[in-house]
Symmetry: C2
Subunit: 492 residues, 2 copies
């Protein structure tokens, strides 16, 4: 088994060899969705990026515990801890209980992720289900002097104190605290804070706030957003765990605050490797509701958005995302999606063709070297564009073998088949969406039956009827190929 | 809209008119699965029964909040509050964190329920996510004098005190407390209890117990099983809600204890209507792991259990369960499943046939009366066997119309179509599993192409080839029917 996976650590800003803390176990925590709306393109990228990591670590025989949370409480409309809870706001708009709204979008999220071939994480904790753990963490932070309770009962993290003791706020994101101070506007209601950059650990609910708890000694409120990830990651993975992932948009303030919380509480970094996927732009612009370029996954799958020329299947989206390295910016356009669709089709066709290729005694192709290159690509910080170019090398081989321009022995055929299947389906997690039909074998039988009939007719030398069969099948997209020794067909 | 639904209330032992507390809202709480193993037949019945209720109330235009919990903690191996937590035991066997085991079986449960056409509930709370709410309920019970803390820190519900004040323990299940006392064995570890029938509200975790919490003022433990349902039902539906459902096996002690808890805490019954589905036996025997007749849903769908002659599709199972009234015992056998499969096929075929029936000027059939009978059946405590017999009346009508023995006008055709579609698909939640193939239209095109070719050959008077086409199609299960004016076909 290959054991030289390097991953880029946002903290050290270097590619580092992945050495898990407790091999053969590997622990991953990834920030999941806030469930107040339908999943969009911005949700697809981290989900697919860390699904790839999950799948690859499983392939490398690690026992992976993959925790991806669901934020069903406490994520406020803006990062400055003011505004209305997003789920509550939606609930008020829809006249429902907040948990009904959350559950609805949790179910939708699962459905959409399943379509994208994203495996479910091994634990998927809800923020609302871990209030006690969050309260305990607040108590620890107060006890250690890094958090303070205000008159209202709210609790804030004391960044100045943290900075005084550890000088490390900003270490992950590279932000400079002094710069941050000078750029901060004083927002309404922030007067409670000792410093404008202190962030909320416990917020007091106002009278019409439905989501609130009373975990002793905190009352009548709800936890700040950054808290849940620290509480749940350390609960399920331990106070020191391997990998923390998420979108680069979460790097600051969310992950910086998470890091400060766990360092302040436990006196050390909880996370060994921080990984961040880059963002998706739409025709070069940032995605945003106000810009009218906010495309949900459902709209993509159905082609029901003014910016879309057609529908794009979930696997086209997945392949499109994997075509770029996860740390590169991806720009989304109809052209690039069409190109992805066509590339994926080529790969999937080659995987069908290889099933029919017959072995020779010798090989003119170096399959083992191709296999190694595939692993090298992934081991180099999950370099999927390089991996995919290797897979296209495989496609070239297969087409060349199919045309009789190259030869391959039976061992190499097995290696090549295995390589294509393993990387395309198991690790990249792609699927042949056409093969999802359980009637595929029946369709093959039906077409074969028609070709058998045509064979009888040809034996009768009834060329005109034989041509009509070709035409009839052609009409519905079946191309008949008369070859030297047999008849082949292809479905458009 | 029909508004005379009667449901059998286990508490009053009578059929009662359903009048929701806050119309147009209707609140339902149903005890969901304990997630320590794969869902089996015993899980299918309550899920399908209350899915029917959920669908019917939605059809009647109620705004339904349907809460079905997941027990991921605290359900002990035997009902006497001793033994090892089922999920922990499984985790130890599988060398995983308890939450990994729970998550695995939650995902499996969702997948299997989805196959059975069971809609997701509107809120699906986890017991482990509501420890605070449970602790609060314990505090209330202690304050009101119905619970006591032992030296170890455990808390028990005081049944004698409850009985002294309210004389109502046993009111739901019909059990008599004195009889219960005389039949109780004294189990190990029960010495802490004041009375052998007191049940645990808070248990102290031993040193290797992984699932434990510290909700002030309770320490180092986990809630008793009965507690979660009272805490979560009242949290999401209010202290008084409409319907509480579950299997009859939960009537005692679980629901009796729930009822005692909420009555003791709030001084009134929380539940207006208690509904219980009956059990499933296998060839006349109770299902049990030790009896070797424990059949999981997966095994049923695959036919992979020694007791099964073949595989049975999810919709066959669903129809089989709905064929009996939910309060009747259902006996499971290959014969009865085959019969269900065949009956369902007849109904689905009729729904296909009706699409092609052409209207006359008059009707010889009374469709409105049939429509009313369908509603009457469901309004009579969800009497699905009567509903299904009405649907078979509809099938008879359709077949008779198809054979030209009866006539129907265009309004009545619409009513009949609508009736069949509404009750079969929307309310009974059945699906035509064959229609799930997206390639169905393509298969029709392919078969039509073959028949077109055969038509050409017949025009050429090449009878031998024409027969061969019939044979080729016959081989793969397509039966050709030469009729007066055209050619039909049917897929076996």
């Amino acid at each position: 088994m290959q054991n030289n996976l390097f991953i880029y650590n946002t903290l050290s800003k270097k590619k580092e060899l992945f050495i898990p803390i407790h091999p053969p176990f590997a622990g991953i925590y990834v920030c999941g969705p806030t469930v107040y709306g339908d999943a969009h393109l911005g949700h697809a990228r981290p989900a697919i990026t860390f699904d790839l990591l999950f799948r690859y670590l499983l392939h490398l025989d690690y026992k992976v515990r993959y925790v991806r949370n669901i934020t069903d409480v406490g994520h406020l409309e803006n990062d400055a801890d003011e505004g209305e809870d997003k789920i509550e706001k939606k609930a008020r708009l829809e006249e429902k209980q907040p948990m009904e709204v959350a559950q609805f979008y949790i179910n939708r999220y699962h459905l959409l992720m399943n379509k994208l071939g994203v495996l479910p994480p091994t634990i998927e904790p809800l923020a609302s289900g871990h209030i006690l753990e969050q309260a305990k963490l607040i108590s620890t932070l107060i006890k250690k002097g890094f958090a303070y309770k205000t008159e209202s009962g709210a609790v804030y993290f004391n960044i100045k104190e943290y900075q005084r003791k550890y000088e490390s706020y900003g270490r992950l994101s590279g932000r400079n605290l002094d710069d941050l101070y000078s750029n901060t506007r004083i927002l309404q209601g922030q007067s409670e804070k000792l410093n404008s950059f202190d962030f909320a650990l416990w917020k007091i609910a106002d009278s019409n706030h439905l989501m609130k708890w009373n975990p002793y000694p905190f009352r009548n409120g709800y936890p700040g957003w950054h808290l849940e990830c620290t509480a749940m990651s350390t609960k399920y993975l331990g106070k020191k765990f391997d990998i923390h992932g998420g979108g680069i948009d979460l790097l600051f303030p969310h992950h910086e605050c998470e890091m400060a919380q766990s360092f302040a509480a436990y006196g050390k970094d909880s996370v060994k490797y921080w990984m961040h996927n880059n963002l998706i732009t739409i025709n070069g612009q940032k995605m945003g509701k106000s810009l009218g370029n906010f495309i949900t996954l459902e709209q993509l799958f159905k082609g029901s958005h003014p910016l879309l020329n057609k529908d794009y299947s979930p696997m086209t989206i997945r392949f499109f995302i994997l075509q770029s390295h996860y740390r590169s910016l991806v720009d989304f356009s109809n052209e690039s999606l069409l190109a992805a669709e066509s590339s994926l089709t080529k790969i999937l066709k080659a995987i069908e063709i290889i099933k029919k290729i017959k072995p020779s005694n010798t090989s003119t192709l170096d399959i083992n070297s191709l296999n190694n290159k595939c692993y090298e690509a992934l081991n180099d910080d999950l370099n999927t564009p390089v991996l995919i170019s290797c897979l296209f090398e495989g496609v070239k081989y297969i087409n060349s073998l199919n045309e009789g321009l190259d030869k391959i022995n039976s061992d190499d055929i097995e290696t090549l088949k295995n390589l294509m299947n393993t990387f395309v389906f198991k690790i990249l997690g792609l699927e042949n969406e056409k093969n999802n039909d359980k009637d595929e074998p029946f369709i093959e039988e039906l077409i074969d039956a028609s070709l058998n009939i045509r064979q009888i007719i040809k034996l009768n030398k009834d060329w005109s009827t034989s041509d009509k069969i070709r035409e009839e099948l052609n009409k519905i997209g079946i191309l008949i190929k008369d070859r030297k020794n047999d008849v082949g067909w292809e479905r458009e």
